[in-house]
């Protein structure tokens, strides 16, 4: 598009401009601007991750300051753990379930918010609030609402025959995982909504008008205009959500501590237990590294398949 040419034109010129602006080199300036980010990141992410990689090569009972170097045996042990594979399966289930649900619900809310004309501002605020309410509070409210005696959702569910009158739904093996996914999605779907809604609002009305003139129905307009236009951000939002959910720890831990009977023990829960309850920090780190590798491979495949970055103009 025309604007693109203008932009790239300017970009090429700039090198020489800045040189004449009395700057040593554009690249140095560029790197200088991102230097604070790099420093922060080194400090808070890179170093700890490197430390974790390093620690994964040791046997580390956390309550003892002595580390024993064991090479890759932690990795071997992790890969031989039955609980690791079942946690991977549950974690995958949690990730996929959450991401799909959040995508659908988030998209749905965005579409509705974009179309309604009454109370839009208020409803948008309401929706966004869900995303901003701290997880701790979400968990507390959820626990309160699922309380066996006075929990409104518990009562609703048992009246519907979903679970027994005296069954704590979050403590029920069949219900724990779906409920954790649902509660997480209550909070996080809005992440998708924010992205999508912003994008939806940017779609020029004339596209729809042109389609209406062509005789397109609402569904056809959605399929042919809305969806392609928001595809780019959806792909990004899905990627981010999937990564976040795969590593999600707090909401599960606070709701179920990985229970009942391991029904919600995803990998982060397992790693946490391994480190702090079973006191094997090295082993937990090996788990984290393996998780990281899985995620990186997954993300790589995702990029290869959909290339979300390309969908978003650089």
């Amino acid at each position: 598009m025309a604007s693109e040419t203008v932009e790239s034109t300017a970009a090429t010129d700039r090198r020489s401009v800045t040189e004449r602006l009395g700057l040593d080199s554009e690249a140095i300036r560029g790197w200088l601007t991102v230097l604070p980010v790099i420093l922060l990141y080194l400090f808070v992410a890179v170093t700890p991750i490197a430390f974790a990689f390093y620690a994964s090569l040791f046997e580390i009972p956390l309550l003892a300051p002595e580390w024993t170097f064991t090479g890759f045996s932690n990795y071997v042990e992790v890969l031989n753990m039955g609980s690791f594979w079942s946690a991977l399966w549950l974690g995958g289930l949690f990730m996929v379930g959450s991401t799909v649900l959040q995508l659908l619900v988030g998209l749905w809310i965005a579409l509705v918010l974009n179309k309604i004309s009454y109370g839009q501002r208020f409803l948008t605020a309401v929706a966004f609030t869900a995303y901003l309410v701290p997880t701790v509070i979400v968990v507390l409210i959820a626990l309160f609402m699922f309380d066996v005696e006075i929990g409104v959702l518990h009562i609703a569910g048992s009246n519907l025959g979903l679970w027994g009158e005296r069954t704590f739904a979050l403590g029920d093996q069949t219900w724990a995982m779906p409920l954790v996914v649902l509660i997480g999605s209550w909070k996080f779907s809005i992440f998708v909504t924010i992205f999508t809604l912003a994008q939806l609002r940017a779609i020029p009305e004339r596209f729809y008008e042109a389609a209406k003139i062509c005789g397109a129905s609402r569904w056809e307009m959605f399929r042919d205009i809305t969806l392609p236009r928001i595809m780019g951000v959806l792909l990004i939002a899905v990627l981010l959500r999937a990564i976040f959910m795969f590593n999600k720890f707090d909401i599960i831990w606070m709701l179920t501590e990985g229970g009942p009977a391991g029904a919600t023990t995803t990998l982060p829960i397992l790693a946490y237990r391994t480190a702090f309850l079973e006191n094997s920090y090295g082993l937990a780190n090996a788990m984290a590294v393996i998780m990281f590798i899985f995620l990186a491979i997954g993300a790589y495949c995702y990029f290869r398949a959909f290339n979300p970055a390309k969908e978003v103009d650089t």
């Binding site: 203008v6 300017a10 700039r14 690249a27 300036r29 560029g30 601007t33 991102v34 604070p36 990141y41 400090f43 808070v44 992410a45 170093t47 700890p48 991750i49 430390f51 974790a52 956390l62 509705v112 179309k115 309604i116 501002r121 948008t124 309401v126 966004f128 609030t129 995303y131 901003l132 309410v133 997880t135 701790v136 509070i137 979400v138 507390l140 409210i141 309160f144 609402m145 992205f195 809604l197 912003a198 994008q199 940017a202 609402r218 236009r229 780019g232 951000v233 990564i243 976040f244 590593n247 707090d250 990998l267 982060p268 920090y281 937990a284 998780m291 990281f292 978003v312 103009d313 650089t314």
Partner: protein
Amino acid sequence: MSAPTESEQRLSYETRDRLYQVALYGSAALFTFIILFPIYWMVQNAFTDSQAVITEFAWFPSPETVTLENFSVLTAGAVPTYVINTIVVTIGTIVLVVAVSLVAGYGMARFRFKYKESFAQFLLLGYMFSPIVLGLPLYLIWSETGLLNARIGLVIALSAISMPFAVWLMWKYIQTIPESMEESAWIAGASRWRTFWDVVVPQTKPAIVACALFAFAIAWNDFTFAQILLPSQDSTTFAPGIMRLIDQGGYTSWGDIMAVSFLMTIPPLLFAYFLQEYLLKGFEVRTR
């Protein structure tokens, strides 16, 4: 095009439109209910006598049990400290995130340098490592640098994890600001830095709000980092604080918890209500 009789056509169209409106507002009502109900439940119980909360189930607050008593928890014990710490940390995080990502986003949008894309992708990699095991190294680094128990230490940590996304957002947003505006300021004699302040920053407001919101969400929400990095009672924030409260007593009043939760839900609501336009504009990443 086939031409059904006029009345038929109009009817069917109108019916369809009505159905659509019903579906639309029905949807809105449904998700509003889903989102609001827990919040309503929280508010309702925040205003209910704490004994009644656990013994009597009621859909609506009844005059006999309505009370403001639960809110006394807000002035009791360490709760005010927690809340103030949370506010301080959140504001600090927002300021740091916005400042750093603004400069970095500008640099990435306006300077040409190698490995820019790789840098962006590298930042994303940081999100892929499960934070569960990072507590110990973080603790070690923080105690080494004296940042432990300092709110600024938590601010730094939270800023860093908000950073990849914030930088990306700023980068994309600044690209949409026509460069000719800066050029015209240069021609008017303004230095690059001055131009950044006078021309770029004011126009980046929506992205600033969006980044601020994102940082807000992270800081306001944070449990894990605060738990590890602010162990002392005086410096800790709301989320770990309330968990400690719950844990200490052996028994916690749901009414109190709901009252505190209610308080913590108000700022986000205001944020969302008053800044949504900016926010949405800031999140508007151009696709294709």
